[in-house]
């Protein structure tokens, strides 16, 4: 066993950390949060130029990474700095699905993504699907050489910025069936799309997307008809590694800020960290952080193993991050007192990132149930 990062990954981590320390301070980030786009084109280009997007793809797909630990290294850093730019949506989900299912033509888009020139959104969740990846009710019907899509997609992250949307639709079967789901690559300017966009609590933007007779050539289908679920599950596994690592990075920042504050903030003539009531709780946060680090390593290290083991590791990591993340976010705020309640203060944003990660691709309970089901299998 060896818990050291390879030299390449260590370099990636150092470079990214330096870049974000330099370019992504609290004030800059808060200005990004207030902006109409909800993200910075300059940062996006900067990340692409650093090779951060490329690090999320394998060499075969035109990148130079793509393994679990590459994802973990990148997202830990993004989490530490509270980055709101949609790397998970465009690269891991969008790029990941195109790379997995696309034909030669479609795969050309991956290059554009790696270069920072294209945003993608994964329009999969629906108003009643919650975290269930199989619950797809959006319909697709053949119409000559075209297919016609109808339905509603919920909380589609990055939808407004995306040049291409990957839309899931059901070719056959009932709402919860595993078989019968297809993906379609739909340019954002296709007729029949309506988007109601909004900012999200922890930064970034999403939209409610309505598809009203959206007509695209049948060649827009990604992969074989009705057989997209395994690829969706694989992409979501990577997204879960990204989410867990991002949360862990954010927890590092939250604990560092809290530790610093406990040592400097004085009440009753002494640093508040000298009150045992707080000191012990700070210690608990540091313990949980180490557990979180291990959970992320377990998940990232099993990305390429057989699905049942992989999925158990993912479920366990997300469940642990959900619990430890909640503890860290709530306790960090509490031990700061009022100051952490202000939008301006770094911890406020970090705590929101940690908490809201629990609402993507399954919350703490969802992953607990997955773990139980997989353990019994």
């Amino acid at each position: 066993m060896n818990f050291d990062l390879t030299e390449e990954r260590q370099m990636l981590q150092d470079t990214l950390r330096r870049y974000l320390a330099d370019k992504y301070d609290t004030a800059t980030r808060n200005a990004i949060l207030d902006s109409d786009a909800g993200m910075s084109a300059e940062i996006w280009t900067g990340l692409a130029e650093l090779g951060v997007i490329g690090a999320l793809f394998s060499e075969a797909d035109g990148g130079f990474g793509g393994a679990g630990f590459d994802i973990a290294v990148v997202f830990e850093e993004l989490g530490r700095a509270g980055v709101v730019e949609p790397l998970m949506d465009t690269a891991i989900l969008g790029g990941g699905l195109i790379a997995a299912l696309g034909d030669e033509d479609q795969k050309l888009l991956v290059e554009e993504i790696i270069g920072g020139g294209l945003h993608v959104a994964f329009a999969h969740g629906e108003p009643s699907s919650r975290y269930d990846l199989r619950r797809v009710e959006t319909t697709v019907a053949a119409d000559g050489d075209n297919v016609v899509l109808n339905g509603r997609k919920a909380v589609v992250a990055n939808a407004e910025a995306a040049g291409q949307l990957i839309v899931s639709a059901r070719e056959s079967g009932a709402a919860g069936d595993a078989d019968g789901i297809s993906l379609f690559l739909v340019p954002a300017d296709t007729k029949g799309f309506t988007m109601r966009g909004y900012a999200m609590m922890a930064g970034g933007r999403a939209a409610e997307v309505t598809l009203d007779n959206v007509s695209v050539p049948a060649s827009a289908r990604l992969g074989a008809a009705g057989e997209a679920l395994p690829a969706i599950e694989t992409a979501v596994v990577s997204a879960n590694v990204a989410l867990a690592a991002e949360t862990m990075g954010a927890m590092e920042s939250a604990t560092a800020l809290t530790k610093e504050y406990l040592m400097t903030r004085k009440q009753f003539g002494r640093p508040i960290g000298t009150f045992q009531a707080l000191a012990h709780r700070m210690s608990d946060l540091l313990i949980e952080l180490e557990q979180a680090r291990s959970a992320v390593i377990n998940a990232a290290g099993h990305l390429e193993t057989e699905p049942r083991i992989r999925d158990m590791q993912i479920a366990s990591a997300r469940n642990l991050m959900g619990r430890a993340g909640r503890l860290v976010a709530e306790e960090a705020i509490q031990m700061h007192g009022g100051i952490a309640m202000t939008q301006e203060y770094e911890l406020a944003h970090i705590a929101k990132r940690i908490t809201m990660a629990d609402h993507r691709f399954g919350d703490t309970d969802y992953h607990l149930e997955r773990f139980i089901a997989l353990s019994a299998a």
Binding site: R130, V155, M200, Q267, R326, G337, K352, M356
Partner: protein, 396 residues
Amino acid sequence: MDLNYSAEELAFRDEVRAFLDEKLPKDISAKVRGRGHLTKQDMERWHAILNEKGWLAPNWPEEYGGCAWNAVQKHIFDVECNFASAPRIIPFGLAMLAPVLMKFGNQQQKDHYLPRILNGDDWWCQGYSEPGAGSDLASLKTRAVRDGDHYIVNGQKTWTTLGQHADWIFCLVRTDPDVKQQEGISFLLIDMKTPGVEVRPIILLDGAHEVNEVWFTDVRVPVENLVGEENKGWTYAKYLLTHERTGIAGVGSSQAGLDAVKRMAGSEIHNGRPLIENPHFAARMAQVEIDLMAMSTTNLRIISKAAVGQAPGVEASMLKVKGTIIRQEINDLARRAAGPYAMPFPSEAVEGDNDPIGPEGAGVVSAQYFNNRKLSIFGGSNEIQRGIIAKVTMGG
């Protein structure tokens, strides 16, 4: 012992329900349920409606125009108001300053300020905390120096809730810097329109403008605005805090909150079944409900004892700690119930002409979750309350 409401209590409950049904404006209750932000006018409108009925001041003695309700009546009113989605009564004038004036103010102050509080002529805010003086309130530095018939005030208050709406602020100020901290503090009433008073907004993490900084630069305050004696302000401040803690358990708010969670969990579908049937979610809900059932009785036991003249001391701290834990747990459940729909930013999810996004009420759950982190921080943090409980019960 009798755990049932008496016939009179049931009649009172029906009266409160009928009143809320008839008089609580629908646009206001819709906002409380999460479809928008309450404006100053909304809050004033509701105060005026309660005042007209004579129900604005449950804790005031009748001679001042209060209801003089007993503990059970207050509980019933709290629960019914919350279930009807009535706005909370803004406490600063009614529940904080008024009791201090009644006990320590002079006749002129009582005659002048108390009716104006009831009538909504003056909006009050609380100027206790400072950047350097939070839990350690007695270390406050805002200075008031006597100059003839005036005090000259310099310094800064912070976290001043709804100070942007306020006409007046009651402040703790330092009048003697050379004695033990607690013995050099005075209680001063300051007109916010006085030159030198500046209010600067603080935006909270959920995006709300709810608190402010209040800066004082050479603010001239007439000496008749001193409450009680100079340098005795700490005594009055502590008296006020015991009043701040009545209603702190928030039982009504928790019950209504849990009800809303149940409704959302009944309509959200999880793996093909209503979320409310999911064993993990159901267990979380049941756990909170069990705590809340006991808390409802704990709260009634403690406030009934206080009503017959035994001040709730350490018990008030217990209500604060457990009551806020329960409220925050319910906020956590609500955000879980909303699933992915907890992610949109509330103003964009619920306001404007469009239909709200996601299931009913989902648009505000995460904002409420983050905003209510304050419950365990303000009014004496939960750590400070635990310190009080330990000190009172174990000495030291």
